[in-house]
Symmetry: C2
Subunit: 325 residues, 2 copies
């Protein structure tokens, strides 16, 4: 409880994580509707599309139209995911996105091979090339990322020392190219993390690189998402990716490996109730979660969208109107 | 992480919490089937029925038949819930239950009035009477309980000092009747707790009554169940009520106030992965969760039952057969 950050930054990824995995098809206009609604909740960072091969991810084939259709609000960084130069060029071509470079390594060699068909050496060389590409394009590179930082379905457990070593490699790559990483994101890609491993890894990185901001990308496949975020908060981690309604997978559809991201409004509820500011309007987020549920056409795993906030109950109690059942 | 208990005691309440709330009707034989399956998971405490008015809770009208039908395993304390002397007598009459007395107070006066139609003074007097009744019957009284210990839909937030004071009242009642409470259970009846309030309340009680065992009864209405259990573990709390599959409410049915209990196999998964022994067979619990889902006929909120354990993945990795997708 002692190391709680005063302010937590939420990077909303529901539109990207959610719409790329839903069997769909979901109308472009409805995607835009959700993004525009999320823009009114106080969010300052939102990943809204991915620029990937439309044959591999048909749900993102309309990425350009989505970006073109949203009503941009001042103060919000709308971002996209890309996996290669072609995707990056598509993002730049929209002229409407907050494009930032990042470099990433993977804590699991077998996952890297299966997911990106690369050896660790190829991945390392690739990150050097990508930093240079961003520099040539005048794109800042301030973030690093570690995939599968807490365990891997193909490699098993990941020791904290390995993650610390990978963070060191990321910082070395950046230094060689005269850029400075301010944030490193740890992804629990396959939902192996527990509150204990979050604390171990975050603590080990903090001990070695105290100046570095950490961010967490947590999956809720095994129900540990909010507890893992809580462990992050206790370690002072102030940056979280999350998805409204728990978009990003359907834990009820049986495709276990893909099950949902940590849920934005549940995380914001926990922060608010523990006195941590997020700058976000919880009731507006709950409305967005219900909208997202309507758009995808099936129940979403978020809890506070069903259980309701406590602020509303407190307001009713203090106004003397009692409980609403 | 420092105060983790070495062993966590799980009191399974799925059959009681689950079958009393399901719209049903659920065949008696299927209730017995689940209880018998749970008996093979290593559980040592299981609350299987409630003896309440069958007009108020039709799902428990067959409580006697359920108790009569189960195959009892040595070493398991099968218990029942009752709310009055009539219910207690029915439990005793089965001749097959582990009947223990307990006394309880409520941190919310308005909830006490709505739920039990009693003032705090009436509740206090009632607890004195009930201890005497148990003594006359030769029933040990070792447990106390505090309802709505973390907040209430009708009264709002509950300060930690109030809970400590109520624990003191419970101990005083017991002392007056020459019985000794060894455990006090804190119920987050209406899902107001956060990890921070769990730590505050558990810490305040531990500071004042260090010899007392605490147990937690957590609801997951706002998605905080596992994070709250984790906070309990960090405070050294070693006793948890939980429900297989997250039985005990259907968060997808919109009756928010009743949404599920913390899920047994998710809690056991977290404990195991953090090195805390529970004596339970996680894979067998997952099978029970799937059985429970089949019995109630709708998706249950448990996560590990969908995401799978990590032990199975580790086994596959170490046997060289890789990931199963």
């Amino acid at each position: 409880m002692s190391d709680f950050p005063a302010f937590v930054h939420i990077n909303e990824e529901g539109p990207r994580e959610g719409f790329q995995i839903e069997p769909g098809p979901i109308a472009t206009a409805r995607k835009i509707e959700l993004i525009d609604a999320l823009s009114a909740t106080g969010l300052t960072h939102m990943q809204i599309v991915s620029f990937v091969n439309p044959r591999a991810v048909p749900g993102m084939a309309d990425a350009e139209q989505v970006v073109a259709g949203i009503t941009q609000r001042t103060g919000i960084a709308y971002t996209a995911l890309w996996l290669n130069e072609r995707g990056f060029e598509r993002a730049v071509a929209t002229g409407r996105l907050h494009n930032r470079g990042s470099i990433s390594l993977c804590a699991s060699d077998p996952f890297l091979m299966r997911n990106q068909n690369r050896t660790p050496e190829q991945q390392l060389a690739g990150q050097h090339r990508i930093v240079e590409m961003y520099k040539v394009q005048g794109i800042p590179v301030e973030r690093g990322g570690i995939m599968a930082a807490f365990g891997c379905n193909f490699a098993g457990d990941v020791p904290a020392e390995r993650v610390v070593s990978l963070v060191g490699q990321l910082l070395d790559i950046a230094a060689e190219h005269d850029v400075t990483l301010t944030t490193v994101g740890l992804s629990d890609t396959m939902a192996w993390a527990t509150p204990l491993s979050i604390k171990r890894v975050a603590g080990a990185i903090r001990d070695t690189y105290p100046e570095l901001d950490l961010s967490l990308h947590l999956h809720d496949t095994r129900g540990m998402g909010i507890a893992n975020a809580q462990a992050g908060l206790e370690m002072g981690v102030a940056r979280y990716d999350s998805c409204v309604g728990g978009l990003g997978g359907c834990p009820f559809a049986g495709h276990a490996g893909a099950a949902g991201n940590v849920c934005t409004e549940d995380l914001v509820f926990m922060c608010q109730e523990m006195g941590i500011d997020t700058g976000l309007d919880l009731e507006a987020l709950i409305d967005c979660a219900n909208l997202a549920q309507d758009i995808v056409g099936h129940a979403l795993p978020g809890s506070v969208m069903k259980g309701g906030s406590l602020r509303r109950l407190r307001d009713k109690i203090s106004s003397g109107s009692g409980h609403i059942g």
